[in-house]
Symmetry: C2
Subunit: 294 residues, 2 copies
Amino acid sequence: MHPFPFDVDQLRSTVETALESATQLSNDCPDRLRDAIRYSLLAGGKRLRPILTILSCQICGGSVEQALPAACAMEMIHTYSLIHDDLPAMDDDDLRRGQATNHIQFDEATAILAGDALLTLAFEVLSTQIENPVLASKTVLELAQAAGANGMVGGQQSDLNAESQTNLNIDDLISIHRLKTGKLITCAVRMGAILAQASPEQLDAMTKYGNAVGLAFQIADDLLDETGTVEKMGKGVQKDQSHHKLTYPALLGLDESKAQAHNLVDSAISALSIFNEQSKSLEALARYSIERDQ
Amino acid sequence: MHPFPFDVDQLRSTVETALESATQLSNDCPDRLRDAIRYSLLAGGKRLRPILTILSCQICGGSVEQALPAACAMEMIHTYSLIHDDLPAMDDDDLRRGQATNHIQFDEATAILAGDALLTLAFEVLSTQIENPVLASKTVLELAQAAGANGMVGGQQSDLNAESQTNLNIDDLISIHRLKTGKLITCAVRMGAILAQASPEQLDAMTKYGNAVGLAFQIADDLLDETGTVEKMGKGVQKDQSHHKLTYPALLGLDESKAQAHNLVDSAISALSIFNEQSKSLEALARYSIERDQ
């Protein structure tokens, strides 16, 4: 594993403090719902997406503080999607980030509501914590488009549909990955750039970076499901095979999958060439996206 | 039933055309998800909330067109909440608006995702269709606060929790109703006022109107569950008793519940006194909220 050219623990801690504070919620929120929201949101995790948002904002000339509302919103959307994906009617998982999934720890109704609440809270955070209304409105649009029916939610539906289909090819798989994971990862870096009031050229470079890293990250996820351990991953593994899921290694084999992931990381890094030395942070994160063991 | 001093069918049709158009979605959206979204969103219904938004906007000096993005967002949030509330893990209902509920017509996973997609789409519509970013950002904030953990989602959680509690009183019930239904109805009229760039006094009057009508509407719902028919309601009735739900008639009896609903409607109407003749439309809607048979 490469050491990061930035203090990853410090960034994670900044994000977690902000998430902690954003989920205090009012007395109107029932305790059980608040507990369920915080149980999943504050359960650790790599915090990859919020870190992408912050680094992108910094590289485009902005600050951690400017990026933080979008960083929190990203993690809220990501966490809600995990809670709903883990439900019995969806992927039916018991273990996530090394602990019982939300519906196991609480119950299905509470897990559905905690997901709904986190999804809603993401937009509340953007609209309250971003002072410039033009930037607030732009980030709401970015996030809604990436997370909704034409993005992440659509990708989850396609992924579920794919379980019952037998004649899918690599283009179908790329299309599912792009929706399910890719658009939200691209959104993470784009929101950071938008909050730094990046130039169109900078925003375009971040979009290319995000598209490439997003797909590389998902290929790595497919590979980890095949080769990882429950201990490292903190969630069930080899679930893909047992669910007959379409994956990169199933379609292309391990070696070719790894090669494609490396090519994507190279593309991501070359998209950063318009930036200065500071973009080493996103270079390192691109490498990490496929070299991680969890 | 009072005739309305405005063309309710025309307004409904305007809302439905806009909902139809907003859910065309891109080719990225899987057909099954698009179908599930449109199945529930375009299934008719009273369209009370979007009509409240439009009338409030008009009374405060705005136009139907100005109100329409928020009107559509309101109906998307309302419909998503019905889809999720009907799930087996929640209220477990088979019938809604006279047709099979979303998870019966499709499946549970699709129903969860269709709800998530509608919730997300509501914010996309606000941020794309409201041109003034200050107003876009303000309405996103209003809607997120009313629909989230401190509002509607919190109310649904409290309502579920209440089923296992035996010592609840009328204040507990009012508190649940305020969160589960009230805040969103108040949000409907507030968003209309905000989009008309209402004065603080006008916004305050609309808030009082919304709070009173929201509670009256919910008392009427409790009464209809007890006295209505499946044919009229298009959904299961007498579910509250069978679920041991806390209701107005159960706590106060039919007569006292009706009296309180009437008092609330009087309060709502008196809040409109600062407006001109045009506010007759919201007066009529307040009366309708408790005199309807569905």
